[in-house]
C-alpha cells in the first residue's frame, strides 16, 4: 500500500454573525479541513487503485477530528457536511473518487449516526484551483435550510503530482434561511432523505 506523504494541512473556520439581517444569538460556523498529499498514481495509468481507500480511512478520520476540534469540539453541534477533492494535473479524476469512501467514513465515525449521504464534488486542477463544496444536513438531505456550499482552495496546491482532499462541516442553517421547505425540526424518517 502506498504511504500517505503529507505536504501540508490547512483548516479554515468562519463564524458568521449576520448577512445584513438580524444577528444570530449564536454565530453560524462553517469550517473546512484540507490536506495536500502526494498522489501515488501520478504520471501513469494504474488499474488497481482501491487499496489506497483503506489507507485513507484513518487519515480521513484524523482530518475530521482536526476539523471538529477547530469548530469547538462538540460532535453534537455539527448539522451539515460535505467533502471534495482536487487532483493535480498529473493525476486522473478517478484518483479524486478515492476520497468518497474514506471521506464519508471519517464524518460518520466522528458524528455518530449521521444518516444522509455526504455530498461531494471533485475536479482536476492546478495550484490555486477553487472548489465549491456542497453542504447538506447530516441526517436528511432534503432539509432546505441547510443547503449551502463552502469554497476552498490553497494557493500553492495541488501541484501536478499531488491530491488535495477536503472535509467541510457546518453548525446550522444558512444565517438568514427563509425559503421554506423541509425543516430540521420536521425530519421524520430514517432514510437519510426526509
Amino acid at each position: 500500500m502506498p504511504e500517505i506523504a503529507v505536504r501540508k494541512y490547512a483548516v479554515t473556520v468562519e463564524e458568521i454573525f449576520h448577512e445584513g439581517g438580524p444577528a444570530a444569538a449564536v454565530p453560524l460556523k462553517r469550517g473546512a479541513a484540507l490536506a495536500v498529499i502526494a498522489n501515488p498514481y501520478a504520471g501513469r495509468y494504474v488499474e488497481d487503485i482501491q487499496g489506497f481507500m483503506d489507507d485513507l480511512k484513518p487519515f480521513g478520520l484524523a482530518m475530521a477530528q482536526r476539523l471538529l476540534a477547530a469548530m469547538g469540539g462538540d460532535a453534537q453541534a455539527i448539522q451539515g457536511y460535505g467533502k471534495g477533492a482536487i487532483v493535480g494535473a498529473a493525476g486522473e479524476l478517478e484518483h479524486g473518487a478515492l476520497w468518497h469512501v474514506p471521506g464519508g467514513y471519517a464524518m460518520r465515525e466522528l458524528l455518530g449516526d449521521a444518516k444522509a449521504i455526504v455530498p461531494s464534488t471533485k475536479k482536476v486542477g492546478g495550484p490555486g484551483t477553487r472548489l465549491d463544496i456542497p453542504v447538506t444536513h447530516v441526517n436528511a438531505s432534503y432539509v432546505r435550510s441547510h443547503f449551502d456550499s463552502f469554497e476552498i482552495g490553497i494557493t500553492d496546491a495541488p501541484r501536478a503530482d499531488e491530491l488535495l482532499f477536503a472535509l467541510v462541516m457546518t453548525t446550522g442553517p444558512r444565517i438568514h434561511a427563509r425559503v421554506g421547505g423541509l425543516k430540521a425540526s420536521e425530519i421524520k424518517g430514517e432514510d437519510g432523505l426526509r
Binding site: 501540508k8 483548516v11 468562519e14
Partner: protein, 194 residues
C-alpha cells in the same frame, strides 16, 4: 464593541514537508480575518477616530483568534503581519486608520516581547479579493528566515460597504530557509530591528 462584525474567518496552515523534505516541527501559520461594516462607506469623513478605535479592538480580538488557531503560547509566536482590504465604497485611508495607529499595541500584548514593526499591506477591492499579508519576525525585523507572506481570501467579502481586516501569526519562518542573513537564534530583539 464598536466594530459591526459580519463574520470572522480563521485559517491555519501547517507545512509538514517541502519538495519531499520533512519540515520538523511543522511550520504553523494562522490568519484571523474580520469582515466589518465600514462606518464611512460612500462619504468623505475627515475624522477617522472611529476606525482607529476599531483597529484597537481588532488587534486584540483577531490576535486571540489567530493564537487559538495556532494552539501555542503567545511567547512562542515568532512572526506576524497584518493587512486590510476596503470595499469599493470606502477609501484606502480607512484601511490605514484601522491598521496603523492602534492595532499593534493590544496585539503585541498577547505575544510577549514583540518590538519589531508589524509588516502590513492594504488595498481596495471587491468580493474575493486576495490579500497577501506580509510576514516578519516579531522581535527583529531583519531576521531573514522569517520574511514571508500569507495569502488570505474570503469569497464573499468585502462587499462595497465593508472592510476585511487580517492579522497573521506564525510559529516559525519559511519551511526550509537557507539564504543566510540574521537568524532567529541570533536576534537580540532590543531595537526591533536586529
Amino acid at each position: 464593541m464598536k466594530a459591526r462584525i459580519r463574520k470572522i474567518v480563521t485559517v491555519l496552515d501547517e507545512t509538514h514537508s517541502e519538495l519531499g523534505r520533512p519540515v520538523s516541527p511543522p511550520i504553523k501559520r494562522a490568519a484571523a480575518v474580520a469582515v466589518i461594516a465600514n462606518p464611512f462607506a460612500g462619504q468623505y469623513q475627515d475624522d477617522l477616530s472611529e476606525l482607529i478605535d476599531i483597529g484597537e479592538e481588532l488587534g486584540d480580538l483577531l490576535g486571540r483568534h489567530a493564537l487559538a488557531a495556532l494552539g501555542i503560547a503567545g511567547d512562542a509566536v515568532q512572526g506576524y503581519g497584518k493587512a486590510a482590504a476596503v470595499g469599493e465604497d470606502g477609501e484606502l485611508e480607512h484601511a490605514a486608520a484601522i491598521l496603523h495607529p492602534k492595532l499593534g499595541a493590544p496585539l503585541r500584548k498577547l505575544l510577549g516581547k514583540a518590538p519589531a514593526l508589524i509588516p502590513s499591506s492594504k488595498k481596495r477591492g471587491s468580493l474575493g479579493v486576495v490579500l497577501d499579508v506580509p510576514l516578519g519576525h516579531k522581535a527583529a525585523a531583519y531576521v531573514r528566515s522569517h520574511f514571508d507572506g500569507m495569502e488570505v481570501r474570503i469569497p464573499d467579502a468585502p462587499r462595497a460597504g465593508e472592510i476585511v481586516v487580517a492579522v497573521a501569526l506564525t510559529s516559525g519562518g519559511r519551511p526550509l530557509p537557507r539564504v543566510g542573513g540574521l537568524t532567529h537564534a541570533e536576534a537580540k530583539g532590543e531595537d526591533g530591528l536586529r
